[in-house]
Symmetry: C2
Subunit: 380 residues, 2 copies
């Protein structure tokens, strides 16, 4: 076994855990907070609750919500300007992956200067970041746990992967009560994003005994709890989806991902698609592409979703992929690329951009841009 590194934030998890925000913020030195969220209503009630908590505890804040879904490079720089002009000392982000990734980008610029695209790739952040406390409002992105930050380079139409241990926030406060008000589409896309994190990091070349059981646990919880979470919004099921997203975050943050995420980043850079809705389309062909390199691990995934069977690893691995295809189709989300893209002329450009994404490096089977194009064509 090679050397493994494992780093996660301090986690405070549970119904009502948001009340711990002020004590955490004070512990990391907060007096004047930059509060980052997205525009619109996604985290609206939650942002008010947070402002109330900050006010009641004598903490000042500056609110910054100029963040799109799939956050953009210039938004990061605008946020960093606000942080410095307002002399903030801690960053609190509330929302899904987008405001959390924007907050990571802001922290990077505040601590290191330069432009955000200077830090694309792995381990290029050299100086410390201001303290970060994140409150995720979806159970999917894992940005509150991870070393990853995905920012769109607008000029190049590329979603950049920025990966550094410095991007792990100090504290993640995960309150599953926030999920009670989410739309069906958001619960599905977040859960499938987390499922894809679990599968890709489990297959990754950097997976380890510290990440593999987190990944398997996440797959098991999502396979068993997504339907109940949608059907009756059971808080137990939503809580289990939160635990799954957190576990998948611990796994992918430390093990990395694979070509499914490379392609999702490439697609998301060119078309402003909801990240989580790309995975039901891409994950089955990606798993099939990886089968020659990962048959035993794909068999373990098959046993989780189909239950134990007396059969060959090859057979149960294929059965698992087929089970997932039915699972995704039953959720009534698009399952073909042609359902979300205008035409197939862009596929070559997408494959050529994806091959350079940092996530391609940890894919268990080496992939050229032609193989990535093949995956896209299978998914068309």
């Amino acid at each position: 076994m090679r050397i493994s590194k494992f780093a996660i934030p301090e986690i405070i998890f549970g119904r009502g855990s948001i009340v711990h925000l002020a004590s955490c913020a004070k512990r990391v030195g907060a007096r004047r907070v930059l509060l980052v969220s997205d525009q619109g209503l996604v985290a609206a009630g939650w942002v008010e609750r947070i402002q109330e908590i900050l006010r009641d505890n004598g903490l000042e804040w500056v609110y910054f919500d100029a963040v799109h879904s799939n956050p953009r490079d210039y938004e990061v720089h605008d946020g960093a300007d606000v942080y410095m002009r307002e002399r903030a000392d801690v960053i609190i982000a509330v929302g899904g992956g987008s405001p959390m990734d924007a907050a990571k980008g802001i922290a990077t610029i505040v601590g290191n200067g330069g432009r955000i695209n200077d830090y694309e790739g792995a381990n290029r952040i050299m100086r410390p970041l201001p303290p970060m406390i994140f409150l995720p409002t979806t159970a999917g992105s894992g940005s509150d746990i991870s070393q990853f930050c995905i920012i769109t380079d607008v000029a190049r139409q590329v979603k950049m992967s920025i990966i550094s241990r410095s991007l792990v926030p100090n504290v993640s406060i995960i309150d599953p009560l926030v999920l009670l008000t989410k739309s069906e589409e958001l619960i599905i896309s977040s859960a499938i994003d987390a499922f894809a994190h679990a599968v890709e990091s489990y297959l990754s070349l950097l997976s380890s005994p510290f990440t593999e059981h987190q990944a398997l646990k996440a797959m098991r919880l999502i396979a068993h709890n997504l339907r109940p979470a949608l059907e009756d919004r059971s808080i137990e099921a939503l809580e289990n989806l939160s635990i799954a997203a957190t576990s998948a975050g611990m796994s992918f943050s430390n093990a990395g991902l694979g070509i499914g995420h490379s392609l999702a980043h490439s697609l998301g850079g060119m078309f402003d698609v909801l990240h989580g809705l790309v995975h039901p389309i891409l994950l089955p062909p990606v798993m099939r592409f990886n089968l020659p390199a990962s048959v035993d691990k794909l068999a373990n995934i098959g046993r989780i979703v189909c239950g134990p069977r007396m059969c060959s690893n090859e057979y149960i691995a294929q059965a698992g992929i087929a089970w997932l295809e039915r699972f995704f189709a039953d959720l009534r989300v698009p399952v073909r690329l042609r359902g979300i893209l205008p035409d197939s002329s862009c596929l070559e450009t997408i494959a050529k951009a994806a091959v350079n994404d940092a996530c391609t490096l940890t894919n268990p089977r080496p992939a050229s841009w032609e193989s990535l194009l093949g995956v896209c064509q299978e998914a068309w």
Copy 2:
């Protein structure tokens, strides 16, 4: 589900991972290190290797090895005096639980002043500690992972449990190659200590979905790997014991322990016994005492050690305890209290000290000093 907190250090794990020491030390700001180890030969070769790494990387150090097995309050204060007099800036500890716990005590006094017994109990450390990097040389104590620090109050003859999130070191560097040279007794006592951490934290009132699977994984790995590790010193088996001790550390650090550790601390305060050798004696009667409160969880443990069975939870739980008794007896370690204590007149004193230990608070079944005395009498 109540609110759970989960905090662990950054972990660097694997054969040869010690080479990452210098970069970690520099990252946390080291220029002049206090290097803490125990007296004698336990970590001898490893200490030399560390000094070589520090020297090669231009780092100064002051060596402090005035630490007993079961470290004592005055040793902590001596170490803190050395740290301050020598203007050290980072603490590196190498060895088993004793030097790591001594290092935590030293860091507490350096950062907070006062006497070490001011901090006995949970959450009494208020100010930041200097950075700590630990290199465990046994696969057992979990001190490199945990929020616990156990120091003997010499005047009171009590092992104090000091528990605080601040006691989690910044980095734990775990190199299983160090285990190749350990004695059979040390491998056994460390592995059983880790097994007891796993069992007690799994049963604990504060266990959570973030800790329970770590605990079960640790039990499975130790049950399957301790014999091979002893018989042929297979590096794979030793590595698995290291992973188990780390996982058990993640579990007990965040979930707490139970009356087995309360009694072990009380015994260790009065008699200078090897901590890990107390658990084969105490764990089976402790599990039997907890059976009325934890039959389902004890059944899960039974299924791990005995394999799956078609039988009642009560039956498999009892079978698991009986399996452990045979497992410990086959290791030829003492399995009765009378084998390690002079006579039974001290048992009442031990039970009365143990009932006030912080670990008693998280035991799944409430325990009076009379119940603890009953456990000791069953173990006599």
